[in-house]
Subunit: 226 residues, 2 copies
């Protein structure tokens, strides 16, 4: 007996991934590498960007700022004289707790893709849902503040697994905390052994050079070229 | 001309509120007051409870722990010899980023309602969605760590508006931060002028007595009585 061979179309029903691929195609057409930057609220994403984006070794960066409400971070970053676009998720009741591909798609016409090599998308502060939505990025980075405690990789494993780079921030506060950074890193290894990691203080600047260098290499690493 | 008077059934389509009311009825039947405790990840909810629940002035407390994965906080609180029930939201991909009324409802048969006066529901660490879902609580409290910065009330206004009490935690770190706690409180006033607030350090114990007293008064304040 012959059976018709059934073709399985993977992801056919996942509208988010379909739109993320459309975003990706737009980014590729302009040779723009894209980083999705995630963290809990107040982990220091914006301060880290304030420091790192100031000198990216010739790489032209732009920022897409995701927030429930307001443009507080975008206002801060605009002082760097980079293109910054604000995306607010707060149209619904309470607002969306993450960016998805369609929200990013709505911002693409406002982004000067022809003039940048690297787009950093600063996601809404949240350790759960942002990890579930691809937006067309090349790399995912999360910032974890040591003040949040050692247990976060075990409590939010998807987020820590989703990222290629985990930036441990606020290490200047370690002398004042009961937090063992080795245990934090061991917990990261338990959920994502291959993740790159770096220890930084966006406040003092310690380690920020290494983070800036990692960011500056994303375009050549992913083969983006205008 | 006569018109038929149309009866408006408020919230008729809101399944969450319907279930929250059923939870509320169960809590009332047992004379249990309920607090919904929310914060960003790592703001110190569990540590605050470890300290405050140890001496609640005769009020018998229980805890419902909400987490995406694991039972790390429940394990810590179980050392207090209080009834602690773990509720994990991680059944789906990545897990839910908040508790809703139906999740709490599923835990009610596991809660010893006849033996407690106060149930503290420790929500998933997140400043967005938990504020959107009533679970049948009497009071909502949020914990905001000073390490998260001054701007959080402006960036997550719904959460700060939803709460009767805002606990500003980790004040022992203020000498080591560039954070102006008066500005943080002014930002809270901008979105929720009537909110009670207290400054605490769950680490050193400063201010925890006042928080414990506030918690211990919830049952009599809401008229709960077994």
């Amino acid at each position: 007996m012959h059976r018709t061979k059934i073709k399985v179309v993977a992801d056919a029903l996942d509208a988010n991934n379909t739109i993320a691929q459309a975003n990706r195609a737009d980014f590729d057409r302009h040779g723009v590498a894209v980083v999705n930057l995630m963290s809990a609220p107040g982990a220091g994403k914006t301060r880290l960007l304030e420091r790192a984006l100031a000198d990216l070794d010739g790489v032209r960066a732009g920022v897409l700022e995701g927030d429930v409400a307001g443009s507080f971070d975008a206002d801060r970053l605009s002082l760097l004289h980079l293109p910054v676009v604000q995306l607010n998720t707060g149209a619904g009741f309470g607002g969306e707790c993450h960016l998805d591909a369609n929200m990013v798609r709505s911002a693409i016409p406002s982004l000067p893709l022809a003039d940048i090599d690297l787009l950093v998308i600063e996601n809404v502060g949240n350790l759960v849902c942002p990890a579930e939505f691809r937006v067309g990025e090349d790399a995912r980075i999360m910032v974890c503040s040591v003040t949040e405690g050692e247990d976060k990789p075990l409590k939010y494993p998807l987020m820590f697994r989703a990222c290629e780079l985990v930036v441990i921030n606020k290490i200047d506060l370690l002398p004042h905390l009961d937090v063992d950074v080795d245990r934090l890193l061991a917990n990261l290894d338990a959920v994502n052994p291959g993740a790159a990691r770096m220890l930084v203080s966006a406040r003092t600047g310690e380690g920020v050079d290494a983070f800036a260098a990692w960011l500056a290499e994303v375009p050549s690493r992913v083969g983006a070229a205008a």
